[in-house]
Amino acid sequence: MYDVVVVGQGLTGLLSAIYAKQQNKKVALVAKGTGKNQQSTGLMGLLPGSTKGLAEWLKYFDFINQDKIMIKHGINHFKSLMDQGSYPYLGEIENPVPIVTASGHVKYTALYPKSVTPIIEGGRVVVVGFHEMIDFQPQFMKGNLLTARPKLTVETMKVKLGASSQRTMTQLDAARLLDQKEVRERVISQIKEKLNECKLSKVDMFIFPSALGIHDWQDTLEHFRTELQASITEAPGLPPNASAIRLNEVLQRKAIKLGVRFYLDSEVIGCKLRAEKLTQISVRSNHRISQIKGSHFVLATGGVLGGGLEVTTTNIKETALQLPVDHNGAFIKKPINVYPVGAALGKNVYSHGITGGIYSIVSSYSANLQIIKIEQNGGLQHA
C-alpha cells in the first residue's frame, strides 16, 4: 500500500515521485520504460514550436492570476532540485531566450541547463562537428542559422574525437568521450589549428553538439571556455542529447536515493474503482499481473507521444487505467484521487504531442500540492 503511486518515468513522473517523497510519502513509480525524457532536448519551453511568452502560456493552460505564485514556486522548486543535483538550470519564464538547435533553427526556451548558452544576435560563431558523429552536420546547421540570424558570421569545422566505434556514434557517446581530459585536449588542439589555418582570431561563440561531457560536464565546459576564450553552447538535436541524459540521470538518481520504489518493465493495464476512488492498478511485468494499491495516483503517462493516450480511427483511448476519455483525451469522469499531469491531461497538448517542459514542471508541482491539501484536510474521506 503506497501513499502515492506514479505511473510513468518521464519528466512529470520523476518530478511527481520526487515531490511526493519530499513530503515523506510512501511512493511507488510504475513504468514500462525510461519515458520520453531521454529523447528530449533537456530544454524547458513554454509553448513548444512558438515564440509566445508567459501571458499566452497562462491563457492557453487556463491559469488565473492567483496561480502565478504557485507557478513561481514550482519553477523555483525545480531549479533548486537541479542545483542540488549539480546540474543547474538558468533562465526565467518571464523572459524566454533564443537557443540554437542542431538543425540551426532558433527556438525560444524558458529554462535551460548551464551547458547551453543563448545564441548571440551578431558576431562570429564557429560550429564544431565531429567526424565520427553523423547526427550533427555543421554545414547543414550553418544555412538555417544564417537565415535565423543574418547578422552572424558563421564558420564551420569538423574535428576528430579519435575513437572508433562499433555502433553509430551518438551525442551521448561523444559526451562520454569528452569526459576524458585527453580527448578534450585532442579536440581543442585541432580546433586551434583550424582557427589558425583560417586566420580566425576573434570568435564570439562556439557551437557544439549536445555532447560536452556527462558526469564531468562542468570540467568539459570550463576546459573549452578557457582554452577557446569564447562563450560555448551545446545545440541539442537528435536524441540522445547529453543535455537530456544529464537531466534524466539527476532526477532518476534523486528519486532512487530518496527511496521511491521503482516498478520497472511494468505496464499498467487497468484499475479498480470503488465509488469515485481508484483503489489499485493492475500491472503486467514479465507476463505476470499484479496489483499495486495506493491512496493517490499520479498519471504521468505522457499523452499520445508518451503512449498514455492512443488515437484510434474513431476516438482516443487512455491506455493505462483504461477509463473512458473525451475527444481531447481528458477523463470523462476522473476518479477523485487520480491526478493526470503534463501531456496525460490530454487537452493540454500544444503541438506535435508536446506540452512543453514548463507545463510539465508546473503541473507536477500543482498535483503534489493538491495531494498535500487533501491530506491536510483529513484525507480522501473528507475530500
Binding site: T170, I256, S285
Partner: protein
Amino acid sequence: MLELNFHDTTFEKCLKCHACTANCPISSATLDFGGPKHLGPELKRLMDNQQVIDDHRIELCTLCGTCDISCPENVHISTLTAYLKAIHNEQQGTKFRDFVLGNAEIVGKLASAFAPVTNITMKIKPIRKMMQMMMGIHADRQFPTYQFHHFHRKYNKKQSNTKRKVAYFVGCYATYNAPEVAEAFVKIMEYNHIEVAIPEQKCCGVPMFANGQMKQGLKNATYNTDKLLEYTRQGYDIVMTCTSCTLAFKKEYTSFLRTEEANELATHIYDANEYLRQLHDQDELNVDFAPMEVKAAYFAPCHMKGQGIGNPTMDILELIPDYQIQDLAASCCGQCGTFGFKAEKYQYSMKLGNELAETVAEVDSDYTVTECGMCKNQLNQVTNKPVKHPMEIILESYEKSHNK
C-alpha cells in the same frame, strides 16, 4: 540451425529511439559493443525471412536486461540478444572456457567436492596466470569460495508439513558458494512457521543463456518447470534467494519456452524478500525484529530491477528498528555473472566496477547489501566494505530478538 521464429513480434514496436543503448551498461563502458538497439531489433528486422547473420559483437552482451527495462515501447530486447548469442555459438562453436563458465552447476559440484584445494588453488598467482593463458580467465579476477559442506549436504527435505508451503529453488550460488544464505532463508521461514521443501532442481540456465548455450539452457528450463509445477499444483509457493534465478523463471522461461507450463509456473515465483513483503501485507509476517543500529547501503542487482517488484529488500530491512538503509542508485556492477571472469572482457567489467566502487565510497556505510552472489563477487573485489545478503541480516535480527 536454430529455429528463428522463436518468439512474438513485439520488436516491431521498436522506434529506434535509442533508450536501450543509452542505458546499456556495457555501451556506457565501451564503444566496442554494437549495443542492444543494433544487435536487437535492427538486426532482427534485417534477418527476418532472410539469411541468418552471425555477429560476433554479441559476445559483449551480458544479458543484464537493462535494455528491457529501458524500452518505452516494451520491446524485450534481451530475448533477441539471447538468441543472437545462441546463433553465434551455433556457428562458431562453444569455447571450452565458456562451456565451463556456463555450467556453473557442474563447476559447483566439482569445486565444492575439492573445496579447500579449489579455494587455495584459485589464489595462487602462477596458476591463475596459466589459467589466463590457457583458458582466458583473467588472472586478477577474484573467485567466490566454494564450500565442501554445501547446502544439499545439510538440508534436503522434500515435503513441507506446514499450512503455508514453500518450495525453495536454491540456485548454484547459495548451494555451493553461500550455503549460509540458504540456511538463513530456511530459518527465517521457520520463524514464520513455514517449513521449506527443496525440490529436485538443476541450474536455472542463466549462465548458459549468457554463454549462448541455449539448447542446454532450455533443457534445464524444461526440467525445472516440470519439477516445480509438481509443487505449485499442490499449493506450494516457489521462493528464491538469487535474483538471477528468479528473473529466469519470471522472464526468460516464459519468453524462451513459450509454453503454458512456463506461464503457469511464473505466477508462483517469488523473490525471497518479495515473499516476506507479501506475508507482511497479509499480516502474516513475524515482525519480532530486534533493533540493529546499522547504516547499510543497498546495491540493486540488474536482475532484481528487471522483475518489476519495486524494492522488497529495502521494504523488509526497513522493518528492523534503527536499521538505516540507503539505495546506492548505482548502475550495473560489471561482474555480470560469467562476463567479468573472461580475460578479454575484464577491462570493461572493471571500468563499471570502479565506478561502483566510487559510489560505495561516497555513501560510506557499514556494509553493502545485495541479493546477487555475482554482484557480491564484484563488490568484494572493488570495495573494502563487507557484503551481505538480506537473508543473513533478517536472520540476525530474528535471532537477536530470540536471544540466540
